[in-house]
Subunit: 341 residues, 2 copies
Amino acid sequence: MTGIDEVARATGVSTATVSRALRGLPNVSETTRAAVRRAADELGYVASSSASGLASGRTLAMGVVVPSVSRWFYTSVLEGVDAELRSASYDMILFNLGGHRGDRERVFHRSILRKRTDALLALCLDFTADERHQLASIAHPTIVVGGPVKGLRSVGIDEKGTARTATEHLIQLGHCDIAHLGGEDEEGLNKQVPIGRLHGFQAAMRDAGLPVRPEWIIPGGFSLPESRAAMNALLDRAGPRPTAVFAGSDEMAMGAILAAYDHGLRVPDDLSVIGIDNHDFAESFGLTTMAQDPFDQGAVAARILLDELGGAEPRTRSVRMPASLIVRSSTAAPAAVPALA
Amino acid sequence: MTGIDEVARATGVSTATVSRALRGLPNVSETTRAAVRRAADELGYVASSSASGLASGRTLAMGVVVPSVSRWFYTSVLEGVDAELRSASYDMILFNLGGHRGDRERVFHRSILRKRTDALLALCLDFTADERHQLASIAHPTIVVGGPVKGLRSVGIDEKGTARTATEHLIQLGHCDIAHLGGEDEEGLNKQVPIGRLHGFQAAMRDAGLPVRPEWIIPGGFSLPESRAAMNALLDRAGPRPTAVFAGSDEMAMGAILAAYDHGLRVPDDLSVIGIDNHDFAESFGLTTMAQDPFDQGAVAARILLDELGGAEPRTRSVRMPASLIVRSSTAAPAAVPALA
DNA sequence: TTGAAAGCGATACCAA
DNA sequence: TTGGTATCGCTTTCAA
């Protein structure tokens, strides 16, 4: 592998100058810089990340911690983070918790402390006191996407407000019997997200003077199959059925739609369904939803970290990103009751 | 940040011994090792990856190149790779090409040469001659998942054979008018995958003496929305309609199912649909499919690289992984024609 | 604008 | 089994 001294030799300058020239630092004559660049290209020289990391104290890599990589929201954020890192020539080190409980330790103890990364971006995680302490002690810029998280700034939508708007959409259409498909999330993930959505639902119902039936608040695990099963179970029960469902995510909403089909119900005629996300499949399903843009959220979060690594003043406040209603064909006024709007 | 010499001082041994003790190398008395471990824990010491990388020449990180992170197959492979890396205490550096054309250069020139990684695992990529040369010149263990790729070993299913089996399933049910929803992939991705599947389809049709109508071979871009649109276009056309569709992936198959619904067709009564993958949603869609296990494929590929990094003999041959038919409710005999089976 | 030389924090060889 | 020390390849003062 070509080393810096070979480039220096080829150019007739010192290694110090080569280093400066290649990194675009000032105080290098343009002629020298050009010569160095050419030589480096010809020799195929690229600085070793270990060596420069050791010498400079910066790895030019960002750690990204994800709960899993198989959910639309996470991968979309990842794409956004990636786009931003790319533009800054930063590499991404991906820590996938993927249900492996004990693995958090790997991230917090081994990797961060190993100085493999310059900063850390976490998705939808909740941190233990110990972990938060760990993070603080390293003076590593850190941020969370899909918050909020106690003691850390985050980037994300207003969970409660978004859920409220979704629910109000159904109420305005004239629905009174509304179920909520919620996302009971796994241990260690940020429970504030599903909880915020539940609270928004309850608040909207309360404000409209509508009853919230406990048995109509069912867990969908943020997944289509689980939601479909849960919704089917609800529809199987004797007694009155809801005329609408507010699902805490589009994937769950799709599960609800399929469950409606399973029961021979038409959407939106017999059952209205609204979700949150604007998932890639939402349009295909004709799904009315509260659209958010996780790509953007990831990009914004990454940009904040990069700016701070670049010397910018740390921003302490969280960033609230927008969410907006997109009406498609999965919601309509209930069959018997005329719309109020 | 705690350094190795602080641990050495605290323990009363040399840094050399600390290094050996912590890495589990032989020739360290158990008493010493225990003492060192304890001191390291107390001080919160973890070796700097830059420093050890520089000194040892190994980064304990693997580069993983993905075309994008928003397709089920890729993320599933990623989970498998991750599981294997985790067990070996390797970190994952994720290079997401994500449609950013020029970005391949980043991977092949900057990152690999920068020695940020010890090995490289690529998903469904096709390499240019230059890139292949680049890879070879670094003596970096490399492998591809979702091949085959000229000049590189790969891990993947028998594309053609799998497609043939899928098509034969439809033929055995009595279908003669079969369309193929194919995956015209993007530039730079491995075209062998969609091409292999197309060839398998054609071969099965030919062997059965069935005609292949060019206008019934339509591109679905490996995506649900695109496939739904393409399928809708096909169903819109005047003239005879196919009674069955072989989709090159489950996501495309789902698009076909939704298109059938768009046209008021019932599945499987009016249209049978089969896919490839056994996607997370396949069961919910009642989709008959050729199941493959990308998680496993990723794990196997990662294991091969890790073994070689551990000193194992390089394996030169590609690995063929299994795929098997799962019959669900999206396929049945055509309405008019009785099943042959 | 450039060069010389001192680290950065581990690893690995050679002695002991 | 352990310690001393050269070394990995670059960055970064400090001088020139």
